[in-house]
């Protein structure tokens, strides 16, 4: 338990003169549910992009378990268990839900290099994909094309794709973005129900959801981690109030 699931050390990234990550030091213990909050433009998504390898940091290091993954390609990080979802649906519009999740399962099992066996012959892969969809209440929709699914179902499919890779650390970029408030509770219930072996970090703006589902909260402002603590500590923190209330006054 002592070793963190994911950690960053002195992570820095700038776009020209704009520093989007400044000396970010993050340590996620195994199995926690972290919320990453902060005003727009604080660098939350950028941090996920840095950790998953979609952006290269200017300086600093990233560790997954004991391993330094700073230089690994994004797909290699996924293979090791560091997986993300996207704020804006990044799906496969003309694949069915089942095909999409089966694709992710096949990639994890290194089956996509083989071309001489038909897909249905890999029955256990198809069954596993179906099981993931069923666990997210998408079972009856599994043969529909992704682009024909309702928006909320597409958000769930984002998570299904991530789960199919068997993540150790799951980074959810506003999983409920655009989902009506009454539906987002169901979505977060699904996230809360994930195995306790999975470490989850999610970006979310709805403070009710954050305080209900997060065991720890990280507040980011202008590329820097302002404070980290339990929900109670964050609620009582004067600096956080300043950021949110002060920010509201200006904009």
């Amino acid at each position: 338990m002592s070793e963190p699931a994911l950690a960053t050390r002195a992570l820095n990234k700038s776009f020209g003169s704009l520093a989007v990550a400044r000396d970010v030091e993050l340590t996620l213990p195994r199995g926690v549910r972290y919320a990453l909050i902060g005003p727009n433009g604080a660098g939350k998504t950028t941090l996920i992009n840095l950790m998953t390898g979609m952006l290269r940091p200017d300086a600093g290091r990233i560790f997954l378990g004991p391993d330094d993954i700073t230089r690994l390609e994004p797909e290699a990080r996924v293979k090791r268990g560091l997986v993300r979802t996207f704020q804006i649906n990044t799906l496969f519009p003309n694949l069915t839900a089942l095909e999409a999740v089966t694709l992710a399962v096949c990639e994890r099992r290194s089956l996509t290099g083989t071309w001489w066996r038909r897909l249905p012959a890999h029955r256990d892969a198809v069954d596993e994909a179906y099981g993931i969809l069923a666990s997210l209440a998408l079972g009856v929709h599994c043969h529909r094309l992704t682009r024909e699914l309702a928006y909320g179902q597409q958000r769930l499919l984002e998570i299904a794709l991530a789960l199919a890779t068997r993540p150790k650390v799951l980074l959810l970029d506003e999983p409920a973005a655009g989902v009506p408030r009454d539906e987002s509770a169901g979505l977060f219930a699904a996230i809360a129900g994930l195995s306790q072996d999975i470490t989850v970090l999610f970006i979310e703006h709805d403070m009710n959801v954050v305080f209900r589902f997060a065991s720890r909260i990280i507040v980011m402002v202008r590329g820097r981690i302002l404070v980290e603590g339990s929900p109670d500590e964050i609620a009582a923190d004067a600096q956080v109030r300043e950021v949110y209330l002060g920010g509201a006054r200006h904009g």
Binding site: R84, F86, W115, R118, R123, A125
Partner: protein, 330 residues
Amino acid sequence: MTAAAEQIAAPHRHLEAQIRWRAIETVFWLATLLPLVASPSYLVLASQIAITALFALSLDLILGYAGIVSLGHAAFFGLGAYTAGLAAKHGWGEPLTGLVLAAGVAGLVGYASSFIIARFRHLALIMITLGMGLLLLEAANSASWLTGGADGLQGVRMWPLLGTFRFDLWGYTAYAYSLIVLFLTFLLVRRLIHSPFGLALRGIRENATRMPAIGASSRAHIRKVYTIAAVIAGIAGGLLTQTTETVSLGVLDFQRSADVLVILVLGGAGRLYGGLIGAIIFMVARDQFSGINPQYWYFWIGTLLIAVVVFLPNGILGGLNRLMSRWGNR
């Protein structure tokens, strides 16, 4: 309710049903035998169609399935054509090994260039493939000591197929040979498309950004499929050389790359039979229109292309599919 229960019991059944061999496919392939028993005056055209269909099938793999746009696919067709031609000219006129050689050379060049191809997308990719095609055309043009340049490669003499079947004047052997190679390659491509690898290709086409996020190495997949497509294009080129016993610079021409793209869009990209149907329509139309007016027949192809893209965005096969499903819903 029972339907839903069945679905839950066996989700792979639905996938199986989607890819099973249909009766209409048997009908289609039986129909391809007609030129052999009907009028032999169409055999030459039929061979050209079979070879073009094979070339279009190759482009379908990369464009229709993996979403890799190429305007220089004739490069591999031409490589296969010249390889088969040079082998025959310099004393090795055995067709089958010649075809393997043509496939090998095209595949090697395809594999080498795939490392560049896998790094780019969209417009950059169109320009790179176009550039490669032009490069190879000019290389063949200037190396006239090897290729015969603009005069074409002379002195290609083929041995009888399997030591028995001579390439006759009517073109019976040529058509049967081209058709068998097309059919066998089609079966392989069909299997590939329905495999997990085929699913990964569709994933790349549908969303290349998401692929690394599910742990997929898109570049490795692209390198693989590009090499396979190059091999098939090389076989098509080799077939053309062997059945016509001549090679001209036209095998590498930009026009050939453009035509095969038109054929695929007409027939329906990303559909197994798209290139085949497209090749039949395009070649028959060319045969008919150029009979009426040899100079301006592209006018009609242009008209047809615009009409198909505007009214049938998924090609003729896509349109037929939609019609069938509407019919089924009644």
